[in-house]
Amino acid sequence: MDNKQKAQQRAEQIQAFYNEISLLEDADMLRLDDDQRQRISHYHEGLLKSLTDAYDIDTSSRQKQLSRGMKIVSFIGALALAASVFFLFHQFWGYFGTPLQVSILVAAPLMTLYVTYWVSQREATGYFAKMLSMVSFVCFVLNLVMLGQIFNITQSENVLLLFAVYGVLLAYAFDVRLLLAMGILAFAGFIAARTYTWSGMYWLSTGERPENFFIPAVLIFTVPLLWKQEKYSGFTPVYRVFGSLLFLVPVLVLSNWGASSYLPWDPSVIEGAYQVTGFVLSAALIALGIRKHWPDVINTGNAFFVLFLYTKFFDWWWEIMPKYLFFLVIALTSLLLLYLYKHLRRHSQLTEDKHA
């Protein structure tokens, strides 16, 4: 097994196998003899034990529910601890001399990094290490932001790259998808800002030109194609989803606000062009996701296709239609889309049966 996610899937497969055996036996379709039952059971016990020792997976539905609870609690705990560090700095900051302030800022991320590593070596579930890694990231952000304030350093977009690198390093060290997402967003911000400064403008207003985000979006989407992520649970979908979002959200903005484009055309022409692009791209993502079995990409493509469609309906009909009719049209369109998806699903089922 490469990662915890695959190990968990294997455990669920084993559980599903026993459930199916039970149903088949009840329907008198299958009966395992004692020797077969014992050998299979012995094999699965060994396998589950090794997976639990290596990845601390859930082997029952009760454990799964508790794990879900632990994930939520650790997320809230991480946010609360990070906020606490932030406000602690603000509460007492003015009482420290500059040398002490600098020492605290430099030491905080280093110490939290060490503590995170130390905890990760002693605790198999990884939840505490994930929480502490978030705190370390916040300490690094405070480190740079507050050094900038203390010494009145001119802001630069390079700070985004540093946040991105540290976030990604922590994400890979401690298997934290949230930090990977934050690193990706910081990286995208850096590339977009750098693109903008190369055109002679100030980096903080990079958001006023959504097209600045196209290049980082493509780069991020292609990362898993160039660098396999099997060892890390759920990292590949994070790259694909954020790559898609960083492309589609600017397209959505530009399809309603053509004046913010670099293109030297009439804003209404730009908006029309980006609306078409939005539809085509969403459909392309759905097709790509189906072909490659990437459910995350299918869902993102679906969500944006519907968003573009409903935005268009709003543009055309909100002002001229009675509201009840407008929402009826939305509902009927949803039913049509459901019918289309059902038809596609059925077609896909038949194709798979034929190959089987």
């Binding site: 900051w93 990094l113 304030q149 009145n152 060290a173 002679g200 913010s260």
Partner: protein, 281 residues
């Protein structure tokens, strides 16, 4: 895991080393500019909400411009168009005005403010301030004459009252720092503005389309507030109004402290000293 943790630790050490080395370089040798300003130019930063705990640890830089508007109050608004930031200056700052004017036809005017990073020249208690004061006083005299010949005109009397308060404010509590020029080359600007009353600070100008032209405004200074080191902020923290939500300054309030402000090699400022003005205590 270990290699990522090691890389993260190296990153932390390296980044902090580079940042602190940059600070040391900025403050090495004699400062490029050193000037004594007052509370008028460097009021204690307002504290709001949760940031209140950190109050009085920074001062803001208050600055003005001489604008193109003929009305004295609007002329001195920092949101106005500086009289010196015309098309010729924008071209000198590397703005492709012709290209922007071409784009105006295909875009909605005033929709996108673009920001251009420049080096701003601030003049302290110089010609720009005296000109602003002179214009305001002349307008006040004019309004007084009109008001005395139309004593029943309440609107006129109100305008005169507002302008009189404004003139008093200009003399006693408004900032005497005026942004008078901008450029891209620090050395050229240093040669041109070598006197003790000048400062160079990084900032941004915003570019807008108006009906007939591309306009430039001072968007902000890159260092809008300056950190006060511990021994100095204790002096300011004890001043009434330093910890509250609203600035102490009113039209009649005089400055209560002076600040020795230095600007280093990277145009990053720092406070060398803070002294209370005895007459204001």
């Amino acid at each position: 895991m270990r290699k990522f943790v090691l890389a993260a630790a190296i990153l932390l050490l390296l980044v902090n080393l580079i940042v602190l080395a940059g600070v040391a370089y900025n403050r090495s040798g004699a400062p490029l500019f050193s000037i004594e300003l007052t509370e008028r130019e460097l009021p204690v930063r307002r504290a709001f909400g949760v940031i209140r705990e950190n109050a009085a640890t920074a001062v803001s830089i208050k600055w003005n411009i001489l604008g193109q508007d003929k009305d004295p109050i609007r002329m001195l608004s920092t949101r106005g168009l500086p009289s010196w930031l015309q098309e010729e200056k924008l071209v000198e700052l590397g703005v492709d005005v012709e290209e922007l004017e071409r784009q105006r036809d295909s875009s909605q005017p005033g929709t996108i403010p673009m920001l251009k990073e420049v080096v701003l020249v601030l003049e302290y208690d110089g010609d720009a301030y005296r000109q602003a004061l002179s214009l305001a006083e002349r307008r006040e005299v004019e309004l007084q004459r009109q008001s005395s010949s139309s004593p029943d005109d309440a609107a006129l009397a109100n305008r005169l009252r507002i302008l009189s308060n404004y003139v008093t404010n200009l003399k006693q509590s408004q900032s005497r720092l005026y942004v008078i020029d901008a450029g891209l080359d620090i050395q050229d600007l240093r040669k041109k503005y070598a006197g003790k009353e000048y400062l160079l600070i990084r900032g941004e100008i915003s570019l807008w389309w108006s009906e007939n032209a591309v306009d430039g405004r001072i968007f902000h200074l890159s260092t809008g507030q300056i950190h006060i080191p511990l021994p100095f902020w204790r002096i300011l923290a004890d001043l009434p109004g330093a910890q509250g939500h609203f600035p102490h300054q009113t039209a009649s309030a005089k400055p209560r402290y002076t600040v020795r402000l230095n600007i280093g090699k990277r145009l990053e400022p720092w406070i060398e000293s803070v002294t209370l003005i005895e007459s204001a205590e």
